[in-house]
Symmetry: D2
Subunit: 401 residues, 4 copies
């Protein structure tokens, strides 16, 4: 029998804060009453800074982030539209599949799992696309399967450099609310988040942010849409409601989560994720293991995927952590199955939590046959976490020294 | 400031049982761990008797019942397919709209709001459709907007009578788990329920049950589908999981709700709904008011829509109940706005709860200008609830005497 | 199997507000950490207005109100001290027993159950006590067993009239936070409340308020005390803590309850209790039944005890309400067993809740053999609840018109 | 602002299991209804094996463990009775104080804080007490302030050796339900536990177990008792209730906690505590620090008190852990203030939780000026936790190999 609390270090759903947990425990309510509007409207307003937007439109779709992907595509593109996408992990692969299913003409750039979005290849393809056939560029901001962060700002810079006016879509499901995201500054047209990652709620709400340009395009959309019809949603939202019965408890949870983010301060939230992730990466180095992320420059601050040594099955590491130590790690997905495991380090997290994950991983690695000195990774992370740190003002914001 | 508990008598979300409420309050968990499969698989199994099926396939889509509607259509029909539908309330109207958006060729039969599905018209149209152009017949088992129950069994009988082999789709969102539903006996091909009605959970899961024939058709489906792709879901379900992050707390709630339904016994659940509804209807009669349901024969056992007297604005009745008495009633929708209000009486309900609804309605009606003797409706319902009753065995089941 | 929510109309524990319920659901915490002091100190401060005191000292004893009784006596009186008490219900009887067990010389005035504290007899005895042998006068502000309110202010006036300087002890367990209580104005020396009544929390905290004079006396106390040693508690309280491990979740609940009382406003809380109680009493009159309270002047605003007609066993009424209708009524205690039942109407309550209690009682009374017209009591209460009412300023406060 | 979950490693209240947490979240209920008896009676029954008794009587006093101490003394001893006690930590000191306050003639044996109950001195004093003036021997099974376990069985053996028939009282507040306790085998007459330690509930219930002999003595008790009158409680318990309003949610929590203990198996619970404690002690050794417990033989399996190195203020260690790392450690009490800190390791705990405590302590120690190599203590504990272990059958039970 498992005892003690579960150590949940998958990259979502994340451990939710106590305030969110209590906020979720509301009785059922009338979603057509004025009180509901008073709940929904400020949530949509307060989600804007989390996306880094002041004029974006927020739509909350009951469902998972995958549903928000579909809403994004079906409301702004037409079947046959050409889009530019990279495939470098399980979630970018599924996104390509979704786009193809919905009839888009996807120009897929395959890069190794572990690499970020290939900005240069994108730049070249955009420059070559003189007649503007590419209608949209899709970027996976954080590949949850590989722990790789991509540079959305650089993609935008290349689009600008060649004067390409394609739409810019970003999957921020495992990045938004945990790392800096600048929808307005990067001129992102469609960004997607899910309730169960940095927004520190259970799964059940896909969050879509649309630029004014995307919203305008949606008025001419022709793809068949039912559940994900954008104007059903934004018109209902404007009246403080939903076009169908919403998961109201989740909205109370979202309210509490947004209040926490505001209380901590987004800059401090981002800094904390960076610091905690740095400790995890220091541990990986101390173990003598390799991250799936091909370089520190693209290492994600929300999840770290780690290769096991040759001969050590990552599935066994995961099973030992789970069955002996009540600890849940992310599996290696697709081609990484058995070769890598993942530590999620996002949401409502602190140093002690990361250290418990690392200390359990050390035991599980050894039990699975890897030779990792006990305490070595923990010590490396402790050095990181114990170091005095100051918040540095960067570009009007605050970043870690 | 509102005090005391809210009196929630809308037709969903319904008041949830304490066991469900506590079951929802779980910490987050790994939806890819074996424990999750051990949660999901029995839920799907135990949903079968609720739908009255032994060989149906259950798919749970994160989202609202509307999403399950889309999943039903998109996975079994093609654009251009002719379907036969009735329009006799807001939800059947929205269903027609959904079908048209997805490209179906809808043969709409308009009947007055308050009437049930026009079985004879359907029979005639089916008989006339000698070349079998009608691919599916859609029936709204319980029109939540009007409080009208339709006779699915009769529709099936007419289909059989003329040998029509169209699919039979049933919207059971506000009927399933509250009134008898016999998917197998009525040879329903696709039935839809939502978590927030008779299943006594918060909103957030659309439940789809497919007959073997519907499942087979789904293999040849051509409509573009992403989020609602049936085989993504049923294949993941077969492995004890979901194709994307599910709202896990809801599944714990569903587990508790199914346990309660089983403990009470479905026949007793149905009988209780009938008895409680009978009391509400007795009250309406005692008040001298009319139900929107055109006859007792089609009156719903889960929701009663009631016309206010001439000159009395139903919106005012609702606002008074809400603002003075912390009681939430359903609004008249569409053409019924201002003319009718609704009392939801489904889910985890008992006599005292119905009586509190009726006693508040009496005060709100009077305050809004209707002349309804205090206590008159309550007394009529009390007579009903106080009457000794026995469970009668009918067709191998149990029904109220 | 019981379905729907339980209708809890006992005079405590009362139905707790949702905010309190959520506030209780905290994880465990360190009761010696600074955060705990930040929780406890404002609670003690905010309890003062609830007791009507500005200079009283609040002590919270983990346990029931009975424990606070013991703390009151053991810390201010000596064995052999003469005290004046009335016995007119189960709780005053138990209080007498407690006093005698602790060695006090109790001058008991027995009056009929249903009568209030016999102010005139008290006045006579006090006037006769020329040598001041009576060290304390005990008044049960609200006899929970009979639904009788006593006039503390009148007792104080008589004490003043004859210049008696005995201490004045008041049991306010079922009155404080629900009806006006003026510790300072009435110069009460020791007042007792419990967490589970008007304070709208679960049981588990006895609350004691001491006048400066009582606190001074406590310094010379000689009765053996361990757990209930006052200075262990008030000294620990002064440092923001407890002398032993406190039930911390209850303090979070108390915080939420005090916030609610403040948000509603104490005057409005008192007015609401009066109005709801008036409706219950109107129902009793409409039924042709008698309250245990001998006159309207002493009828309690928090609980009504009602005699059943001859030949109708109150225990049967209670059992029917409980077993058929999931409704919990208070039993007749001691000599009232079988002859009376009680409706608790205090705490987080509204009109619809009282009406559900009354409508169930009507059914239970009839089922137990009483002839009570259905809806009659409900209608009488509805008349009361529907009447327009204004808040009237009385003595600087607000009272019902 | 603190983020992530709090790391609570005080020796009570302990982190409570999720099942307990959910079980606590019940609505209020009628404690005089039959359902309540159905809750209480099996709890009392199932507490027996936790105390190691088959014929002991269980009484649950609303309040803290301190209250159960008072109930134990006041119901079995008289003022002036001589009792034999050791003083070797804060809680044994407070127990002596309680005994003296209640008028007992306490023969106190002072031994150093860090030593266990001085069995030999007790043996000598008992042997010398030829006329049987010593009425009771008090043993603190686990001194929570020093992390020292005492040998109750050895005390019993010495009592038997000299044929002394004094009562044997044991404070098991921080031992019972976490380490083996054999009330019957050791012929303990009165044992005390609290809800907030090994019983994994919030504070609020003191649990008393009485031998038949103690129960018999209680019938002749003469000490004044009100709240803690044993027969009020056991008679009410026999009828399935309490003499005053109980904290009903706690009983639901206790039910869930007992179910967990039974599911894990008491022997495995005890073994787990031993194994987790061994890891903590290995860490202390690896740090080069000293436990307050003077030898491994008396080291507690539920809490470890640790001296900081000279010049390092334990209060600073505690404050750093709390303020930087959201971790709560136990303070050094009384003479240990500033010199020692404590790690509680009891209740619903696992390896990862202990490792997070140890890893935070390492950072806090260093930040406070101690030179402790990062990861050293963690590694020592990991070695312990990773070692394969088997359960060994001992005396018909199971113990760690």
């Amino acid at each position: 029998m498992k005892t003690g609390h579960a150590h949940l270090y998958i990259p979502g759903p994340t451990i939710i804060p106590e305030e969110v947990r209590r906020a979720l425990a509301v009785p059922m309510q009338d979603h057509r009453a004025p009180e509901f509007a008073s709940l929904l409207t400020p949530i949509r307003y307060d989600l804007r800074p989390v996306f880094g937007t002041t004029d974006g439109t927020i739509a909350l779709f009951p469902g998972s982030g995958t549903g928000a992907w579909e809403a994004a595509i079906a409301n702004t593109l037409q079947a046959g539209d050409r889009v530019l996408m990279a495939r470098h992990g399980m979630f970018s692969t599924l996104w390509v599949e979704m786009a193809e299913r919905l009839g888009l003409d996807v120009d897929v750039v395959d890069v190794p799992w572990g690499a970020p979005c290939p900005v240069e290849t994108f730049a070249r393809k955009l420059a070559e696309d003189r007649d503007g056939r590419i209608r949209a560029v899709f970027v996976t901001h954080n590949e949850t399967a590989t722990g790789v962060a991509s540079d959305v700002e650089a993609v935008r810079a290349e689009m600008d450099a060649c004067g390409h006016d394609a739409l810019l879509f970003v999957d921020g499901v495992s990045s938004i609310a945990s790392v800096p995201f600048e929808m307005d500054a990067w001129r992102v047209d469609l960004a997607i988040a899910g309730s169960q990652k940095g927004l520190m709620c259970p799964a059940g709400l896909g969050v879509l942010a649309l630029s004014p340009r995307a919203l305008e395009l949606a008025e001419k959309a022709t793809m068949p849409r039912g559940y994900f019809h954008l104007f059903d949603m934004v018109n209902a939202h404007a009246a403080g409601s939903f076009p169908y019965t919403p998961p109201a408890p989740l909205l109370h949870g979202m309210r509490a989560a947004l209040d926490r983010l505001a209380a901590e301060g987004l800059d401090r939230v981002f800094d904390r994720h960076h610091r905690l992730a740095s400790g995890v990466r220091a541990a990986v180095a101390a173990w003598g293991l390799r991250t799936v992320a091909e370089s520190p420059a693209c290492a994600s601050d929300t999840v770290t995927a780690i290769y096991t040594p040759d001969g050590v099955d990552a599935r066994e590491v995961i099973a030992i952590a789970r069955d002996r130590y009540n600890c849940y790690l992310g599996a290696g997905l697709g081609p990484l199955a058995g070769r890598a495991f993942r530590i999620g380090h996002l949401g409502d997290l602190n140093e002690g939590m990361c250290l418990s994950a690392l200390s359990i991983v050390e035991m599980a690695l050894n039990a699975a046959g890897a030779r990792v000195p006990y305490g070595a990774g923990v010590a490396a992370a402790q050095e990181t976490y114990a170091a005095p740190y100051t918040l540095r003002v960067v570009d009007g914001g605050i970043a870690a020294e």
